[in-house]
């Protein structure tokens, strides 16, 4: 057990190192002079030389990587020249917005998918079930920004019920915050919910064919008690895994949704960093998101073992 834990920890460290290495190489092997990119076209040769010197750009690559990594391990991702703030500070300041978006989207998606999945499994092959398949294919097909634009067109422009862009911090006004987050959260949730619904449905259809369900039915339990009390838990393991794995897909979606709705999250920071050629910000966000993603996957792995006794037994036997 201990050996297995150590092996897992070692591979985690290995993955985190390679994430940092790739992030570093992406920026440092890219064509062009980073110093020139940071200072802009109007820079004088002297200021470029000075910046190259202070960034250590004339040192060998491995040397630069190690000193950069040393800084990263102490929480130093560099300094943004234009905004004049630390990159780590900018990321941490904006991360809560992204996190609220991600969690809200998952909650709304599951809130829609669980009842719909249970119902379509219970009434499998009915008209409602077939309609839900058509609906899921049409929500999975457009990229998230298309769903967002349709929502903006209907709810913000036609009916004027919700703001189309902008952000109100949670600390300022809870209602205002919910109003500005409603459309972005719904956009991402609508993009995710069909996948969850069909996944839960297909697992649940299988569960409902098992003997213990027939037994419960024979005892005369009402359908809702069988569905919620007996069938839901054994049907939800693949759903849980996918909800976890999807965090990565959602981070990508969140970048687009933040740009579309003007939310000041880390996706917006990343894209603006690209537009303004703030390479250190781009590098910092990519590293942060990569590490966040790796950690989420580890947590999902562990949770899965906790929830499903079969996985736990399997692991112990090995």
């Amino acid at each position: 057990m201990l050996a297995k834990g150590l092996r897992h920890a070692a591979s985690l460290v290995g993955i985190l190192f390679s994430v940092s290495l790739i992030t570093f190489l992406l920026m440092n092997l890219a064509p062009g002079d980073p110093a020139l990119a940071i200072l802009g076209e109007t820079a004088t040769p002297e200021s470029i030389a000075a910046l190259r010197d202070s960034l250590g750009l004339d040192l060998p690559l491995w040397h630069r990587y190690l000193s950069w990594l040393g800084g990263v391990l102490q929480g130093d991702l560099g300094h943004s020249f234009r905004a004049n703030e630390s990159v780590a500070g900018a990321i941490l300041q904006r991360f809560p917005v992204t996190l609220e978006l991600l969690i809200g989207a998952q909650v709304v998606a599951l809130g829609l998918a669980i009842p719909a999945g249970i119902y379509t499994a219970y009434r499998a092959r009915s008209a409602a079930d077939k309609a839900s398949l058509a609906i899921s294919l049409s929500f999975v097909s457009p990229p998230p920004f298309l769903i967002g634009i349709v929502l903006v067109y209907v709810f913000a422009l036609q009916f004027g019920m919700l703001p189309a862009t902008g952000y109100t911090p949670l600390g300022e006004s809870i209602v205002g915050n919910l109003r500005t987050m409603a459309l972005p959260v719904l956009t991402l949730a609508l993009f995710e919910f069909p996948v969850y619904m069909r996944l839960l449905r297909s697992d649940m259809v299988r569960t409902l064919q098992q003997n213990f369900i027939s037994l419960a039915r024979a005892i005369g339990l009402p359908p809702w008690r069988i569905l919620l009390g007996h069938a839901l838990r054994p049907s939800s393991f693949s759903l849980i895994t996918v909800v976890g794995i999807n965090m990565g897909r959602l981070i990508g979606g969140a970048v687009i949704v933040e740009v579309l709705f003007g939310l000041p999250g880390i996706g917006d920071l990343l894209v603006n960093g690209i537009y303004q050629r703030e390479y250190l910000i781009v590098q910092g966000v990519v590293l942060f998101v990569g590490v966040f993603f790796v950690l989420i996957n580890i947590v999902v792995d562990l949770l899965y073992g906790l929830l499903d006794p079969r996985v736990r037994l399997d692991a112990a036997r090995r």
Binding site: V19, L137, I149, I251, V259
Partner: protein, 288 residues
């Protein structure tokens, strides 16, 4: 968007469990054929010049002269959508071909030789998978500067792990089958066994998966171009058109919803077709 490489693949079959009526099969197929034909023949079609600006005729509603209206610079939306569709399909097919070739080869080698080779290839795949795909694509494209070839290669790299995984899993089980053993006993070299015995059996699952991945690639390209990180203007892209005309959404919804509809129908058709092909393949395999 999202580049859901492995995870969508794993769940796609469960998105649709029923046989759709055959109309639902022929309509998407017709759309894809139309899309391919129109984007190949775009220069020959009697369409208005997609680049000519007409500042007196901006944001015109759909009419006989401009079937999908004009955009904020007075350019024809239909002609631009067709050019954008061409970029989408080029990126979709190109990046999947790249992923299929590289990933398929890696998976084949890794599943056949196992041991050391397998370990190294798997490690490399884990590294690619340890970034959220769209974020990695954004990072690569933004550092190296957006261009058609770069977008194709970047998305192709992101597809490599999932193709490699499928090829590897299938090769692992094929390598132990009798016909491979027989070929080896006859003194066939590894290279020939791979090319003549194993590869033909890999083609079907890889090609079925490719169709679904083209849909994913088209969505990914649209997301990149929405952020202005795909083929640079004035070359139109579907995502880029939507992003630019978004400001006039209320006055000229056609300039946004025209390219949006083209994008949506294309991805939907690819998904429905890919789903069907995959399901047929599953049935055939179950029958074997």
């Amino acid at each position: 968007m999202t580049l859901p490489a492995a995870e969508t693949a794993a769940m796609r079959p469960s998105v649709g469990r029923f046989r759709l009526p055959s109309l639902a099969m022929s309509l998407p197929a017709a759309w894809i054929v139309l899309a391919l034909a129109v984007s190949l023949a775009a220069p020959l079609l009697p369409l208005p010049d997609p680049f000519r600006q007409a500042l007196l005729r901006t944001l015109q509603p759909p009419s006989w002269a401009h079937w999908l209206g004009t955009d904020s610079l007075g350019r024809d939306v239909l002609a631009r959508s067709i050019l954008g569709l061409r970029v989408s399909l080029l990126v979709g097919v190109g990046s999947v071909a790249f992923g299929l070739a590289v990933g398929g080869a890696l998976g084949l080698v890794s599943g056949y030789f196992r041991s050391r080779v397998d370990l190294w290839i798997s490690a490399a795949m884990t590294v690619i998978l340890s970034f959220p795909p769209l974020v990695l694509a954004i990072a690569i494209v933004s550092y190296a500067g957006p261009s058609l070839v770069l977008v194709i290669v970047t998305l192709g790299i992101l597809f490599v792990p999932s193709f490699a995984r499928i090829a590897r899993a299938n090769t692992l089980s094929l390598a132990d089958r009798e016909f491979v053993l027989a070929a080896r006993a006859m003194g066939m070299r590894n290279g020939r066994i791979l090319a003549q015995e194993i590869l033909p059996n890999l083609a079907a699952p890889l090609i079925a998966y490719s169709m679904l991945m083209v849909a994913v690639a088209v969505i990914a390209e649209a997301s990149l171009s929405f952020l202005g990180l795909s083929v640079p203007p004035p070359e139109p892209t579907l995502g880029g058109m939507i992003a630019t005309e978004r400001a006039n959404l209320l006055d000229a919804p056609w300039a946004v919803f025209g390219p949006a509809a083209v994008l949506f129908l294309t991805v939907l058709s690819l998904n429905v077709l890919g789903d069907q092909v995959q399901r047929r393949l599953d049935r055939r395999e179950a029958a074997l």
